[in-house]
């Protein structure tokens, strides 16, 4: 009995009128945990009841504490008939289970009803007394910290990064149980919400156990997803990266170090050898050796430098239009289109055991169909997974691994992190991805979710082999997703193949080996670009050159990755959001036929998405993609592909070639003219984009190439010398069909369409930048004004024009218009950058396309935005070379820490919350807020007498009174509701995260049977999303936090039935609740202890630091 949960129900406010006769409510509260229920007294005739209950005490196992949510139900007492439910609050008490997080949950929670939405608020206090449990065989994993953040959280230091953890649990979906026919929609929704809450609790606990087994203490980059498989059940699955984290303890020592590293940096002289060996000891795992062992090709390729280049170039000179030199390649078909069909069909006919060898070589086409047929086979034979087919042996082993020791877990050397401690990432190979089409069948035994496990194991295995093919031993920025339509499910996984520094991965590695840095063989800022694979035995055709930075090693011509831009990466100019959008019609079909059709389409889609990405990247004049996320969505009659990434120009990579257009019918004069016109337009666009994104790469002279200069700074001064290098495109001279030029052949309207669509992408209006990574390269002076938002659009396609082209155009317009709308809406924030732009596409019905976007707009200081790229590079160089302990924790500081050196007026600070109000002059704002103050002051001194209804609102509200009393507080406290910021980023610009309070993972269902009355679908969803935000904020405030970082809306499933006037929506969100302190406040208080007293008080919540 290791835990005691204590709950106190304090009061309610703004309750709905439940008794029409009296216009009042007789409310009471049921508090339920597990199977125990307590009730408060009925508070008669009030919309603002004061229960002030005793402490309800639950004595429970910590296993239950982790799994179960606390369930609070507010009801209206009815003497004669059944009590009416007003609404519920589910509180996840997990944050109270680890010592460093929240100590109490206390505050106003919105009372939520799945039919009516938010109906008033309830004030609750929750505490947990945990007893130490030393039982080795325990089932709970209290104490393991979870972070959604995909980097090492700010106030922690990574001691060891253990690796991949995954788990999934399955259950029947209550919505599809027989009982659902007889119960109310409300009961059904609540059953579902509760079940998912339970399942995610269980999942988290199980993952926690795995982490403990690995001797870690935290999960970073925790990503939990739901698969609503309909009839066949409900799957909750999660992946994450197990770590051992150390809290950076003394805030005094921590603050100066991390708060303003930029200042500190300046004091550290730039060193040739940036590693002053102060504490060198420990097993110097020579990195060279490591690299060698992982990619033996490396050292070899260095020796055979010049001749190799020619070798690698020769296959390239024959420009094959379809030749996808796409980097992403292992997953994209490196075959030519013609042969695809053949292989495909023969495979489908063949026995599943026929294709074992090819699989591991990473031909996705084969792979896909194989997994599909295997699935058929399994379903037919009803056998356990893994036993069938060719991969039986390794497959079984795989399954075993999942239940086996943590060490073997490393069989999947995957990391869900996207940002890494400096030195962690050695080389990046490229994007690896795998997809498989599966037919869903009912999950027979929820306790043995083997089938789903096996599916994922299979995909992960494939990813791993792809990574191997790229000479990499690890996959970073790893993520998994599904798309389900009826009984067909596409499972996707993707990541970036990489070679990692084993220092962080090993148990018992002494810290001292830090000095064993890569400097001697890997120059800072370009090392990760160097190819990890064997140059002579490349897994795919690629075009290699010497690194433009160090001149020592080979680099590819383009680099695609799923991770964030490494902080020490040398980038020229700014980045931009690049999207590839694609639709493909498919015939409606059932089960197997459907799955076959989808598997057939997938490779084409991937290929086209990659081509589009490549073209757009070149059009932008850039050479690398970060944060690449390709989403393939399956619908009844179409497939949609949406790829988003942030394009940048990496200084280490060669300049991208242009795009050349070639016509197939050369004898037509006007056609020729048309072609050349198009060509000109494209060239102009590239030139314009280079200007727009400030891409002015230095041109490098021959000597430099011949004799590499080790000191990067020196090198960077050698600008503007004439380039005669043969393997470099210096001008946009496309007429000679240079190898770099990307040739587009216009031989039919289809291709014409493609070219057009390339050119129709409108750049954002002046003052706007966008990216889907955490930070925007080239901008590092963010102000504190942020605005997180979610935008949803659904369009209905008219069934008449359903051709691929029309579809593509519609989809393209949808996305472009959405972006345009965002730019317009956020125009008051200019200059600003949309960061972490996350598009999600779903196909809820035949002719509906739904696009959901979540992003954060951050303003930056224009004056300082003009900082030269050179300065930026130098800064990052300095930073990277300063080998100090605090560097281990995390890079993003780069952008936030530039703030303290450019302090902005403090007046602005108070208004930071007013992200949308640049319209009002500051003076007026002050006036406005000050008279609200005044009114409240007056309200306090006012003569009170027989006060009527509205006054009782005030009287009944202790928090309100409290706030009145606090009137002397600074103006930011004037709002009775504390401001809670939300951001999909892992940091808050201009602020320091001082504490992580726990993970927020919430699932809501909202349903209506009066859609028209609620303002139609838009009104319904608008209100629901606003409510979800409100509930997230309330939970964070109750934990004592003032922000959610790494916020993500993982699911937004919207279904409507306008004929029945009904709609239903499911939303799943998650993030990390944190306490942050403004850096300006910190500076003032840095001498004293940096408590959070300057931040807005959350109503009812204590702010604990």
């Amino acid at each position: 009995m290791p835990g005691k949960l204590k709950v106190k129900i304090v009061a309610g406010r703004h309750l709905p009128v439940m008794d029409r006769a009296s216009d009042l409510t007789d409310a009471f509260v049921e508090v339920k945990f597990g199977n125990t229920t307590f009730k408060t007294d009925v508070y008669l005739k009030s919309l603002n009841p004061q229960w002030n209950s005793e402490w309800f005490k639950f004595e429970v196992d910590d296993e239950d504490l982790q799994d179960e949510p606390l369930q609070i139900t507010v009801l209206d007492h009815d003497t004669y008939s059944a009590n009416d439910a007003i609404g519920k609050v589910y509180i996840d008490i997990d944050p109270l289970l680890y010592s460093e997080a929240a100590t109490v949950i206390s505050g106003w929670f919105p009372i939520y009803d799945t039919i009516h939405g938010i109906r008033g608020e309830i004030n609750v206090i929750v505490k947990v007394d945990l007893f130490n449990d030393l039982n080795r065989f325990r089932q709970s994993s209290c104490g393991v910290k979870f972070f959604c953040t995909t980097s090492i959280p700010k106030c922690y230091r990574a001691v060891i990064i253990h690796g991949f953890v995954e788990e999934l649990v399955v259950n029947e979906d209550p919505e599809y149980q027989w009982i659902d026919r007889i119960r109310t929609p409300r009961a059904s929704n609540e059953a579902r919400q509760r079940l998912i809450s339970l399942m995610s609790g269980e999942l988290q606990r199980k993952i926690g156990l795995k982490v403990l087994e690995m001797r870690g203490n935290a999960v970073v980059g925790y990503l939990q997803c739901f698969d609503l498989e309909g009839e066949s059940g409900l799957v909750v699955r999660a992946i994450g990266t197990a770590c051992t984290l150390d809290k950076l303890s003394s805030p005094a020592a921590f603050l100066p170090a991390c708060n303003s590293p930029s200042k500190e940096m300046k004091e550290i002289p730039f060193n040739e050898d940036p590693n002053p060996n102060t504490h060198s000891s420990g097993p110097s795992t020579p990195l060279k050796n490591q690299t060698y062992s992982f990619s033996p090709s490396k050292s070899y390729s260095r020796q055979s430098s010049s001749s190799d280049t020619d070798l690698s170039l020769t296959p390239k000179t024959a420009p094959s239009p379809q030749g996808p030199r796409i980097y992403l390649c292992p997953s994209s078909p490196p075959l030519s289109c013609g042969s695809l069909h053949l292989k495909k069909s023969c495979l489908l006919l063949s026995d599943s055991s026929l294709a074992p060898h090819h699989c591991s070589l990473g031909s996705p086409v084969l792979r896909k169909s194989v997994s599909f047929s295997e699935e058929l086979f399994l379903a037919a034979s009803g056998m356990g997974s893994g036993s069938a087919g060719k991969e039986g042996g390794p497959f079984k082993a795989l399954l075993r691994q999942q239940t086996q020791s943590a060490l073997e877990q490393r069989e999947f050397p995957f990391f869900t992190l996207t940002v890494f401690p400096p030195g962690f990432l050695v080389h990046v190979g490229g994007v690896v991805s795998a997809r498989s089409v599966k037919l869903l069948d009912r999950i027979h035994n929820p306790d043995e979710p083997e089938t789903r496990d096996a599916w994922w194991a299979e995909i992960r295995q494939e990813i791993k082999s792809h990574a191997k093919a790229l000479g990499c031993h690890a996959v970073v920025g790893y993520s998994e997703s599904t798309s389900i339509c009826e009984e067909v499910c596409i499972l996707s996984a993707s990541g970036t193949a990489a070679v990692l520094n084993p220092r962080f991965l090993q148990d018992g590695t002494v810290e001292g080996c830090l000095e064993q840095r890569l400097e001697e063989n890997l120059p800072v800022g370009c090392g990760f670009c160097h190819i990890p694979y064997d140059e002579l035995n490349m897994p795919f055709p690629a075009h290699l050159t010497y690194c433009y930075n160090c001149r020592k090693q080979k680099v590819p011509d383009v680099l695609f990755t799923t991770i964030d831009l490494p902080t020490d990466a040398m980038v020229i100019g700014k980045g931009c959001l690049i999207q590839a959008r694609l639709c493909r019609l498919k015939k409606k079909a059932q089960a197997e036929a459907n799955a076959t059709a989808i598997s057939n389409l997938l490779p084409f889609m991937e290929y086209e998405v990659h081509t589009q990405l490549m073209n757009k990247l070149k059009l932008k004049g850039m050479n690398a993609l970060f944060g690449l996320r390709i989403q393939i969505t399956v619908g009844e009659n179409m497939l949609m592909g949406l790829a988003s990434a942030t394009g940048v120009y990496l200084a280490a990579l060669p300049a991208p070639g242009g795009i050349q257009i070639a016509g197939k019918t050369p004898n037509d004069g006007s056609y020729e003219q048309h072609i050349s016109h198009m060509q000109k337009k494209i060239n102009d666009t590239i030139a314009k984009n280079r200007e727009l994104y400030e891409i002015n790469p230095p041109e490098i002279s021959e000597e430099v190439i011949g004799s590499p200069i080790p000191e990067p700074r020196q090198r960077s001064r050698l600008l503007r010398s004439q380039s005669e290098s043969s393997d470099e495109v210096t001008e946009l001279d496309l007429s000679h069909g240079k190898k770099d030029a990307f040739v587009l052949e216009i031989d039919d309207t289809d291709a014409l369409e493609d070219v057009h669509s390339l050119l129709t992408d409108v750049p954002p209006p002046p003052g706007f930048y966008s990216c889907n990574t955490e930070i925007m390269p080239g901008i590092n002076n963010w102000t504190s004004e942020i605005q997180m938002f979610t935008s949803v659009r659904v369009i209905r396609l008219s069934s008449l024009n359903l051709t691929n082209q029309a579809l593509n155009k519609n989809f393209n317009d949808l996305c472009e218009n959405l972006l345009k709308s965002l730019y317009f809406k956020l125009r008051s924030m200019i200059p600003c950058c949309l960061c972490h732009v996350n598009f999600t596409v779903s196909l809820p019905e035949d002719e509906l396309i739904q696009v959901t976007v979540t992003a954060v707009a951050i303003t930056f200081d224009k004056n300082q935005a003009l900082q030269t790229t050179k300065a930026h590079i130098e800064k990052s160089l300095q930073r990277a070379s300063a080998d100090t302990e605090e560097l281990l924790q995390f890079p993003l500081e780069l952008c936030s820490d530039s703030l303290p050196s450019h302090p902005f007026p403090p007046a602005k600070e108070h208004l930071e919350s007013a992200s949308s109000n640049s319209g009002i002059p500051a003076a007026q704002r002050d006036r406005c807020s000050s008279w609200i103050e005044l009114i409240k002051l007056k309200a306090q001194t006012i003569r009170r007498g027989s006060i009527k209804t509205t006054v009782t609102v005030e009287k009944a509200n202790p928090m309100g009174e409290g706030n009145f009393r606090n009137r002397s507080a600074p103006p930011c406290a004037s709002s009775t509701v504390g401001v809670v910021k939300m951001t999909p980023l892992s940091f808050i610009p201009g602020a320091k995260i001082t504490k992580y309070l726990g993970i927020i993972n919430m699932f809501f269902i909202r349903e209506t049977t009066s859609l028209r009355e609620e303002g139609g679908v838009s009104g319904f969803l608008h209100a629901f999303i606003a409510e979800v935000f409100a509930m997230v904020r309330a939970h964070v405030a109750a934990l004592g936090g003032n922000a959610v970082v790494s916020y993500i809306m993982k699911q937004c499933v919207f279904m409507e039935n306008p004929n029945k006037n009904q709609a239903q929506c499911l939303i799943n969100v998650s993030g990390d609740a944190v306490v942050f302190v403004r850096e300006s406040d910190l500076e003032v208080a840095s001498v004293q202890q940096p408590t959070a007293n300057c931040q807005p008080l959350c109503a009812g919540g204590e702010v604990t630091t």
Binding site: P110, I935, T950, S975
Partner: protein
């Protein structure tokens, strides 16, 4: 391709002041879009009409959701659904409760009932204010009225506390409530030249001096209802005109002091008795609620118009009224000095405000 659903939700609720104004003014989405297009916003931002349409819809939806909260502004401060910075909350409230001069002149002093609400159509046509906006303003008046009507304490403070309005606007609402409660006639043709500001000024004076609250701050309705006892007592003032000696004495006192100081002395001298009779009779009649309603009509008829027809300069009116009220103190036979001061002090202020073209 048609947009089925199109929403934008920010963690901080975006409020566009221009769109808010259009919404408050009662324009439909399409009208608002047209007006925004005309404002040149498309050229400034390079947006398309579709973007504008979507943006306007979003804002309208937000305002629609906020409206319920705006009906009880303290709720807006405590609610959790919309995260709005305090300065923006204040702006939302202030603008929502702001009203049009033209509209308020139409309903000032009228009973805030269903009947009046039906007339909103006509008011809308007459003033050119959209019916929707008229309704909002009318409902605001009525809502404020209902809440503070029977409340104890200062009217302005009550309004400020329950509706979180600025001082200026709270005073205006106090005037509206006061006028609605006492049903002062303001719509007569004679009174058309008066602005809402004129009436609000008078209302404030009357609230300060003529209501129950002026003498006792612990009673219900103290600032809304006139002090009945005081009105009854006003009959006593009749002696000032009924007693011929007293009237003559009063006149001579005034004339002696003002001789040579007024440009219109002779007119004043000739009119003194008429004016005095007018002012005192107005006081004496206030016992009847019907006559209370006609207070402003009477004041204009009995005092403002006669003076205006003789072209009294405002300064002379001031001198006259000061002397007229002050010299009563020298009338030995008159016992109701305090009553007179309470009456005339307010009336003098009102008359000076009402005396313009």
């Amino acid at each position: 391709m048609t947009s089925e659903l199109d929403i934008f939700v920010g963690n901080t609720t975006l409020i566009d002041e221009d769109v808010y104004r259009l919404w408050l003014d009662g324009y439909s989405v399409s009208d608002a879009v047209a007006l925004r297009v005309r404002s040149g916003i498309l050229e400034q931002t390079g947006a398309t009409a579709a973007v504008l349409q979507s943006d306007t819809m979003d804002h309208y939806r937000t305002f629609h959701m906020l409206e319920r909260l705006l009906h009880a502004p303290p709720k807006l401060l405590h609610q959790l659904i919309f995260q709005i910075p305090p300065s923006r909350q204040a702006l939302l409230i202030e603008r929502y409760y702001a009203f049009d001069e033209a509209f308020v002149r139409e309903v000032l002093g009228k009973k805030l009932s269903k009947g009046t609400k039906k007339d909103l159509d006509d008011i809308s046509t007459k003033t050119g204010i959209t019916l929707k906006s008229c309704r909002r303003q009318f409902d605001n008046f009525k809502r404020v009225f209902k809440v503070v009507e029977e409340m104890r304490g200062s009217l302005v403070d009550n309004i400020q506390q329950h509706f979180l309005l600025s001082d200026r606007l709270s005073r205006d609402y106090a005037a509206i409530v006061f006028f609605a409660n006492n049903r002062f006639e303001t719509g007569k043709k004679k009174l058309q030249y008066l602005s809402f500001g004129d009436f609000a000024f008078c209302a404030e004076l009357m609230i300060q001096n003529w209501t129950l609250g002026a003498v006792d701050s612990q009673v219900d309705d103290m600032d809304v209802d006139l002090d009945k006892e005081f009105l009854q007592d006003l009959k006593e003032l009749k002696v000032l005109v009924a007693d011929k000696d007293l009237l003559d004495l009063h006149k001579s006192l005034v004339c002696t002091t003002l001789r040579g100081k007024l440009s219109i002395f002779s007119e004043m001298e000739a009119n003194f008795k008429n004016l005095s009779r007018g002012l005192v009779n107005v006081a004496a009649k206030l016992t009847h609620s019907k006559d209370v309603r006609d207070l402003f009509v009477d004041l204009v008829e009995k005092f403002v118009e006669p003076c205006r027809s003789d072209h009294w300069p405002l300064n002379d009116v001031r001198l006259f009224l000061n002397q007229y009220s002050a010299s009563v103190h020298s009338l030995d036979g008159f016992r109701h000095q305090a009553l007179w001061d309470r009456y005339m002090g307010t009336l003098r202020g009102c008359l000076l405000r009402l005396y313009h073209d």
